[in-house]
Symmetry: C2
Subunit: 376 residues, 2 copies
């Protein structure tokens, strides 16, 4: 399935680019390589943490796409687009890869007729772009990030499925944390337990962004897990964002260590109301800013507030459009995937946050998560 989807996406992009006078484009960002070719190298590997470029895909009107990869990265199982290994294993592949990649892509670009070339200026190293431009004075390099972002905003079915899998990993982490949290453990121990379960479920290492904060740290809203020992009666915020096959998922929950007090209970119910209100308005045509406003108003009726966004799009980037913030006029559309995350914070005392990822549908947000937020 993924294969045919990628092949539908390329003509869709080329049609857009043609309308802008471009007959070809070079893609090199991680999200674009995943979206248009299916290629999803790991986020953390000896190659990917230091190579200035992971690969490049050349798209041309009326010709097959060409993908250029380093051998190291081609180990990722991968079949969707014809590809060429630019660098066979060498004893110093990381040093020679950018030069060789430029040379190979440049050769192909030199065969193109004069005109505009779509290019990812933001994700491509300046050196790479300069070398290609120097090789191809007949081409005018045009940034295409806005077109790429617009085409990706509405998720295809296979993307929703991938995000659902990533969210399921986050949910598993939440279940483990809920089952393991107890006074005397430190934040890091709890985090390690969640991550171990996630990796074993996935069958491989899963890169993950995470906040895991307890006690007074919860008032700060975000933070990495530390060796801080958790005590009875304290709160714990766990916000887990695993990266799975190129897509991000997220779930956030807040727990009490022991039975919640009435104030904690009321705050948590207020968050659930705010989240429910937000989900109810994840409908086509509703502006993102309206979802934000309704969530904040619902919470304010309970006396709560938060200083961060109400939510954000999620997919190949962990934070992408639409941004659910005050005044955002972007209308939602069916198939957008959004993480909503209301919070309540009392500076230097405590804080709470819950988050759920959902798809925009005619009937409101359809959660991709099966985790039920719960305080204990």
């Amino acid at each position: 399935m993924a294969c045919s989807v990628a092949r539908e996406r390329i003509p869709r992009l080329m049609a857009e680019l043609s309308a802008g006078g471009m007959a070809a484009a070079v893609l090199c960002s991680r999200p674009s390589l995943r979206y248009y070719t299916g290629f999803a190298p790991p986020l953390v590997s000896s190659f990917s943490v230091q190579s200035p470029v992971l690969g490049a895909c050349l798209l041309r009107r009326d010709e097959a796409p060409l993908l250029f990869l380093a051998l190291e990265l081609s180990e990722t199982p991968f079949e969707e687009v014809p590809h060429e290994l630019v660098v066979q294993y060498s004893l110093a592949v990381e040093e020679t890869w950018p030069e060789r990649l430029c040379a190979r892509v440049g050769e192909q670009l030199q065969r193109l007729p004069a005109g505009k070339l779509g290019f990812e200026m933001r994700s491509c190293a300046a050196e790479f772009e300069r070398r290609l431009e120097a090789q191809c004075p007949h081409l005018q390099f045009v940034p295409i990030e806005p077109v790429l972002a617009r085409l990706r905003a509405i998720k295809d079915e296979d993307e929703v499925a991938a995000i659902r899998e990533a969210v399921a990993l986050a949910d598993l982490g939440q279940e483990v944390i809920r089952g393991s949290a107890r006074p005397g453990l430190c934040e890091l121990e709890l985090f390690e337990a969640a991550r171990r379960a996630i990796d074993l479920r996935a069958g491989r290492r899963v890169a993950m962004i995470a906040d895991l904060i307890s006690g007074e740290r919860t008032a700060e809203s975000v933070g990495e897990p530390t060796t801080r020992q958790m005590a009875a009666g304290e709160l714990l915020i766990s916000d887990l964002g695993p990266h799975w096959l190129g897509y991000w998922g997220e779930t956030c929950n807040t727990l009490t260590l022991g039975a919640p007090n009435p104030a904690q209970h009321r705050a948590f119910e207020a968050l659930r109301d705010a989240l429910g209100e937000g989900l109810a308005h994840l409908r086509p045509g509703v502006q993102a800013g309206e979802v934000d406003e309704r969530m904040r108003k619902t919470l304010a009726a309970h006396g709560g507030s938060y200083f961060h966004h109400s939510g954000h799009g999620i997919g190949l980037l962990c934070h992408e459009s639409p941004t659910v913030v005050p005044g955002c006029e972007m209308p939602l559309a069916a198939g957008m995937v959004v993480a909503l995350e209301p919070g309540i914070y009392f500076p230097r005392h405590w804080g709470m946050r819950i988050k759920q990822v959902a798809v925009v549908t005619e009937h409101g947000g359809e959660p991709l998560s099966r985790f039920r937020h719960c305080l204990f």
Copy 2:
């Protein structure tokens, strides 16, 4: 200490750049920010995985350096260089950060006299460079990666200390793996045990690159841990590379699950000999290629060989100069830090590798690792 070291490094770089006709430079790569300012944001965070730039440091002859950071990243404890938070927390910081950073850096660049500006072309996004160039037609942007790499090749004392700490984390992981490895466990379970111990020792999440392969997979030399269950009599290669405060460390060991057979025992002794021979020649003036040759010859005398490099420099990059490969004429110098890693591989059957990080000294390589390679 780190503070004064960073302040010595900046004049050293400026002297080099002055000799090349440059009165100022903009640094934006992760290694350069760490080296010249002490700033070491985490490798994996919601901000750092998707922002096209982590920050920028402007160095000027006869003026204080200026570092520009996003608020999110400034949470890293950090005092060494005067810095400015370009983006206070906003509801969409990731969207506005690159534009605002360019604007702030550009303002400062416009005040410079006409001439050459040192620039990191390879690590900087093309968009960022293009915007700055458009704002500053009086400046000629000059790539300075070769100068930066040369100055960093010989490590300062604080760097050796940092690498030693990173290596100690890798060593701890090896001890845990040695103590836990048993038939019936899968590779991932073993990896998780090592990582948990490393994170708890460090007191925070430690990013890590790792090979962890067992059985026939060892013949492939590298690979991520999987759910493959290990069986008695098999081999296990664990190559751990933690990233600690901006520096990489590495240790690799090979274990047998149970008592080694004579062939395994002989191969392992041959690897130790080759490593010992390599270490003995990590002396100033010796060419990297000679170290490579001596290691391969020693192993060949036992009937063994490997197809990968014999080693590589390590520090702010996990693979950097000098590359210990056949024919490399780069002379070693006191203070260089090198990982040596001889291996033996029998295609589709089994493989072994050991690795140790050492500093080049007059008396040969001084290991930064305390782990004693052992087969069981």
